[in-house]
């Protein structure tokens, strides 16, 4: 049995513990697969590393549990899954690198190491998502009941009560923000695609991009500064929240609508012009209907983006415990602010406030997810079938 290592001399001393794999046991070594690890080696090594690491942690854990002296210190400490996973993955990276370096050479070894690291990066990115959603569901479920969706916080000091006033406020503010920003955003997108030439169009494109980056709290301050000029300092109005949110929403609407309008084939426009249709009717009757699915998707996503905004609403819409149906009169509670306020200013029976905060968070996440899902469904169902 010969292990052909090709032209890579390789530091054989490093891999002294490695036994040649039995798959090369054939009388004639396959020159194509020679010097390569068998196909599923990395998978097996990964599993083995996890098992080894988990076993080590388990032994340590059991030793700690059985030792009478340390039992008091580690009371309630459960098996360290995360530690085992981290150590196991690190072990895998080391082993696969050394093994591959010994058998396949330096370049392949680096390749395998990077593959591992990239996968680890993806796994790391998933951890917060999973942790966040699972904790929100777990903590939010305790108060996810009918009371929460039918009561406001008026005259509630301890447990009970709910977020109806906040849900109403969020709905009103978001609808008002959409009413302000959708016409402006859509018309701007139409201008940029159908009419815009020269400096104005370029300037608008650039500043719309810049506007995407406005911090949400600055939008809130702007709405406050605007209203304070008319109504005096200390003003808190629901409509102010709508103004702030529309400032954040307009750029998203413009960008997404613009891209959708650009996707409409020029042939359609030219066909309409050839029939003598005026330009404005072409836009209204040909271009917009063709791209409507994409535009609605974009608007839905824009709403999903602003509906979770907290900072501007905290500044300008304020907080209250009661229902407020009027955007133009008095403070208005919104769901994100409700979550923040419940958590930050806990009253008597603090747990009730924390529970309400998590339930509010769960409701908020559900709303955003539903909006995102709706956007995807709209774009899938109503998008024109590609005939090109």
């Amino acid at each position: 049995m010969q292990l052909v290592t090709g032209t890579q001399p390789g530091p054989a001393t490093d891999g002294s513990e490695i036994t040649p794999e039995p798959s090369t046991n054939s009388p004639m070594a396959n020159s194509l697969t020679a010097g390569m690890l068998p196909r599923h080696t990395s998978l097996w090594i990964l599993l083995a590393s996890w098992v080894v690491s988990a076993a080590t942690f388990l032994i340590l854990y059991l030793a700690e549990q059985s030792a009478p002296g340390t039992a008091a210190g580690s009371e309630g400490e459960s098996f360290n899954y995360i530690g085992a996973l981290v150590v196991g993955t690190a072990l895998y990276l080391v082993v696969i690198y050394l093994l591959s370096r010994a058998v396949e050479g330096q370049r392949k070894a680096v390749d395998r190491l990077v593959t591992g690291l990239v996968a680890v990066a993806f796994g790391l990115a998933l951890i917060p998502l999973i942790s966040l959603i699972s904790t929100t569901v777990a903590f939010g479920a305790t108060r996810f009941d009918l009371t929460f969706f039918t009561n406001s916080m008026r005259n509630i000091v301890g447990s009970g009560g709910g977020g109806l006033h906040a849900i109403l406020g969020t709905t009103l503010v978001t609808v008002a923000a959409s009413i302000i920003s959708v016409p402006i955003g859509l018309l701007t997108a139409i201008y940029l695609v159908e009419y815009g030439r020269g400096h104005l169009a370029r300037g608008i494109t650039f500043f719309v991009d810049v506007m995407t980056g406005i911090p949400s709290i600055v939008a809130g301050l702007f709405a406050y500064a605007l209203l304070a000029i008319f109504f005096g300092p200390g003003i808190r109005l629901g409509i102010g929240g709508a103004i702030a949110l529309s400032l954040l929403m307009i750029p998203t609407v413009v960008r997404s609508s613009e891209e959708m309008l650009k996707l409409v084939p020029n042939d359609l426009r030219e066909a309409a012009f050839a029939l003598g249709v005026p330009k404005w009717l072409t836009v209204l009757k040909v271009v917009l209907p063709t791209s409507s699915a994409g535009i609605i998707t974009g608007i839905t996503l824009a709403i999903a983006r602003v509906i979770g905004e907290t900072a501007p609403l905290l500044i300008i819409a304020g907080f209250t415990q009661s229902m407020n149906y009027n955007l133009f009169d008095g403070r208005m509670m919104t769901l994100p602010v409700f979550v923040y306020n419940s958590y930050v200013s806990q009253g008597t029976d603090a747990q009730a406030y924390v529970d309400r905060a998590w339930t509010g968070a769960l409701t908020l996440i559900l709303i955003v997810m539903v909006l995102n899902l709706a956007a995807r469904i709209i774009s899938r169902i109503f998008s024109p079938k590609p005939g090109r």
Binding site: V118, S131, L186, L187, P215, G308
Partner: protein, 313 residues
């Protein structure tokens, strides 16, 4: 038209056309007016704080700038820490989706990462203070014990885990989807011929990425990072909820006194502020606005210089 008069065809001026095109121009111009008015109103409301007697400002400050300096420092410091965590991770995730994951899975994996962007910031704050900070606190204790001699990790360790490093982790999670989405798009735009040429020369997958993908995507990575930076600078609620703030300038990552950020400071103090305090907060908001505006403009200029990266062509 330089055609002879008798051949010139004049189209009828339709009233609908004129109204419609005017309306679109008007809408476009409105956006510019709004952006300008943001600046004007903020300046107008900030001026009283800038010219006010220092004794009227919140705290014991000698001027507005000494009030804003620790906040500005905290903002930049937290954002840079977040960026240091997020950029390598995002590049890894983007590479995983664009070049490593199976083709069929790639798009769904992209959606999964985009889900992170859909989570409202207040929920991140709740998660940071309720889950992440308690989980990281033991790690911080170990870090202070093991590496306390490095000034960055100097003790005494925070007992709650609500430090600037936790904030940076939360911010990194929040900006990760933005940077990842842009990087992914750029990596997918790498000319196929470059990649295939590298493969034909016997390059491994990592060498293809090193030789073809990363050099092509470098400007895109930079601008994506700057957009992430802009987001991290302006992020409010997560910082306001997670951090236990104080108005100091300190590089220590794990202590219980941390520099707070402009945005978090505004969110925490605005509801109770009155008089000149409101103006001081708005003025600090103006500082934030200018900083993020500059960062975003630079990022957009880099993107626009190579139009291929805008994704809208």
């Amino acid at each position: 038209m330089s055609a002879p008069a008798e051949l010139q065809i004049r189209s009828t001026q339709r009233i609908g056309d004129r109204i419609f095109s005017r309306a679109t121009v008007f809408a476009g111009a409105t956006i510019l007016v709004i952006l300008a008015s943001v600046a004007v109103f903020l300046v107008a409301e900030s001026l009283p704080a800038l010219v006010a007697d220092p004794s009227e400002l919140p705290g014991t400050q000698t001027s507005f700038w000494s009030y804003a300096a620790p906040l500005a420092f905290g903002t930049v410091w937290a954002a840079i820490l977040a960026l240091l965590i997020a950029v390598p991770l995002s590049i890894g995730v983007a590479l995983f989706i664009s070049h490593y994951a199976p083709r069929k899975l790639a798009q769904s994996l992209g959606y999964v990462v985009d889900l992170l962007a859909a989570v409202p910031s207040v929920v991140y704050g709740l998660w940071g203070i309720g889950v992440l900070a308690p989980a990281l606190q033991p790690v911080y204790s170990v870090m202070v014990n093991a590496m306390g001699f490095i000034p960055l990790f100097a003790g005494p360790v925070s007992g709650t885990g609500r430090t600037i490093l936790t904030v940076a982790v939360v911010l990194a999670v929040m900006i990760l989807p933005i940077i990842t989405a842009l990087c992914r798009e750029i990596f997918l735009q790498t000319p196929k011929l470059h990649e295939e040429a590298a493969l034909a020369m016997g390059a491994t997958r990592w060498e293809v990425i090193k030789l073809a993908v990363l050099p092509f995507g470098r400007p895109g990575i930079i601008s994506a990072s700057m957009l992430g930076l802009g987001r991290a600078l302006g992020e409010t609620m997560a910082v306001a909820m997670v951090l236990s703030p104080s108005a100091i300038i300190s590089f220590a990552l794990l202590q219980s006194t941390n520099p707070t950020t402009i945005a978090a400071n505004i969110a925490l103090n605005f509801p109770e502020a009155h008089g000149i305090g409101v103006n001081a907060l708005i003025a600090s908001g103006l500082v934030l606005f200018v900083v993020t505006l500059v960062v975003n403009m630079i990022a957009r200029l880099i993107i626009n210089r190579r139009k291929a990266f805008s994704g809208a062509n």
